[in-house]
């Protein structure tokens, strides 16, 4: 056997050619069309909205409840369009969004600090670690009686409950991210010369990011629920928040108003969820945690 199967590359005898051939064989191309992707994501959602509207309309046609209690979709959408022309709705959205941002922002700072401390310091882990998980099982609305006693019917009471809802989830995300860090990453990072702060910045933080973002997402869900509960209970603080407007609409027996505001709340929640979901997916697919064939 005199023939050598090695290809002769530019560097004399090299395996470059064969290697490239092997690489090309191993990497199958996956074609995908963007337009089809958008449509395949959109149609189930549009169908769901359509079905919900249909069921609602059928209930109205069958006169399941009197129309002053359950108005039809057309009536509600009119009401929504009417409210959208007045600044009250937009001011309300602004107030609610500001509360959400402040409460969530503070929860973020507190949750990250707490999470890092618990993950790093053994004594804290024993003392606080399980408490954080226990806090999460507490329905946020159950905090309000205490919050009202502590802070009266005030912004602070709402803020207090929002933070109690969101911070534990965010802290747990940080803790889980650091706890389940693959030891190989640490070993490789040290071997590459990352020590101390650099190890945290270049290795631990990015490795923990997917778990952290899950915590952020869950934290948002908790804080949004807490905020709505708070706004329904604590009303009449100057201008009216979205939750406050919902309470007023119910007190005036304004059924179209109630449902119109509910649609606003739902839309707001969906929009924020969409942003979190997008970030979560982007990170997971970049980290290679999602099989591209199923996404």
């Amino acid at each position: 056997m005199a023939a050598d199967t090695r290809t002769l590359g530019p560097k004399g005898w090299g395996a470059g050619g064969t290697l490239s051939g092997l690489d090309a064989l191993e990497l199958a191309e996956r074609p995908r069309s963007r337009a089809r992707g958008v449509w395949s994501v959109m149609w189930p959602k549009l169908a769901a909205v359509g079905i919900a509207l249909l069921v609602w309309q059928i209930a109205v046609w069958l006169e399941w409840k009197p129309s002053y209690a359950l108005p039809g979709p057309a009536r509600v959408l009119d009401e929504l369009a009417l409210r959208a022309q007045h600044s009250e709705l937009w001011d309300g959205i602004l107030i609610t969004a500001r509360r959400a941002a402040m409460g969530y922002g503070f929860s973020l700072a507190l949750g990250v600090t707490l999470g890092l401390a618990v993950a790093r310091i053994k004594v804290l882990r024993v003392a606080i670690g399980s408490m954080i998980t226990a806090l999460q099982t507490m329905p946020s609305i159950a905090w309000f009686p205490l919050a009202i006693l502590l802070f009266q019917m005030s912004e602070q009471a709402i803020f207090f409950v929002v933070v109690l809802g969101a911070a534990p989830s965010i802290a747990n995300g940080v803790i889980a991210g650091i706890d389940y860090l693959p030891p190989l990453f640490l070993r490789a990072g040290r071997n590459l010369g990352a020590r101390g702060f650099k190890l945290y910045w270049y290795i631990i933080a990015p490795a923990a990011l997917p778990s952290f973002v899950s915590g952020l997402k869950q934290g948002w869900a908790f804080s949004w629920r807490s905020l709505m509960a708070g706004e329904l209970i604590i009303v009449g603080l100057g201008k009216t928040s979205i939750g406050g407007q919902l309470t007023f609409a119910r007190e005036f027996g304004d059924a179209p108003g109630v449902i119109a505001i509910m649609i606003v709340i739902l839309t707001f929640g969906l929009l924020v969820d969409f942003v979190f979901g997008k970030a979560d997916r982007a990170i997971r697919s970049r980290w290679g945690l999602i099989d591209p064939a199923t996404s």
Partner: protein, 259 residues
Amino acid sequence: MTLLESAQSVTADAVTLSGVTKVFGRGGAAVLALDGLSLDVKRGEFVCLVGASGCGKSTLLNLVAGLDRPTSGRIALGQDRAPTLMFQDPALFPWLSVASNVELPLKLLGVPKPERRRRVAELLELVHLGEFAKRQPHELSGGMRQRVALARTLGQDSPMLLMDEPFGALDAMTRDLLHDELERIWQARELTILFVTHNVREAARLADRIVLLSSRPGRIIYETGVHIPRPRRIDSPEVATLAADITDRLRKEVGRHGR
């Protein structure tokens, strides 16, 4: 103490191990992983450590890499730069692109950005992965990932590489090609390589010298120079003959534990 010694003696040795012993655990549960191991590796030498499971091969590399300390004995490096370690798992960071993975150690060393870019491109060309610079690691095959890991390791510019079964998880064809690559890079860069494997043929294909370790505790039981001219082929008769001889010795050693 090891630093002082390396400064004093400018020898032809890349690393000198004398009487290195490593014990894990204490008391009754203590395990003697390495027992008074002495070994000199010359500059530019390619040494393969061969042994069955539990012979402390990985322990030895961790000690030389400075990731762990010996219980007793001395390890003297012939250069100031710490050797770099490469594992069986490519251990690429999934959040970084191929290029950024190779760039990270350079960044940690404080190499300025324009030079980093130039060197990353050079390193990726060296392992024939230039066109995959912007991919994410999970988009590559196992063999390609291991080549990225090799580029990343070489980027640290250490004159000595410690390789812990780096090709153990690859298919035979990819492994053969990577042997060629490694041999080429080792010669071009005049590296010193300490290469751990349980694959005897791989050792005969690559090594200037093969060191056979016993299991529990790890001791050197046999050493031989390999004088088969390069470039070698893993399926050449000379390599096969040498591999057969070493396999026999290894079997004898493993059989000793069966009794």
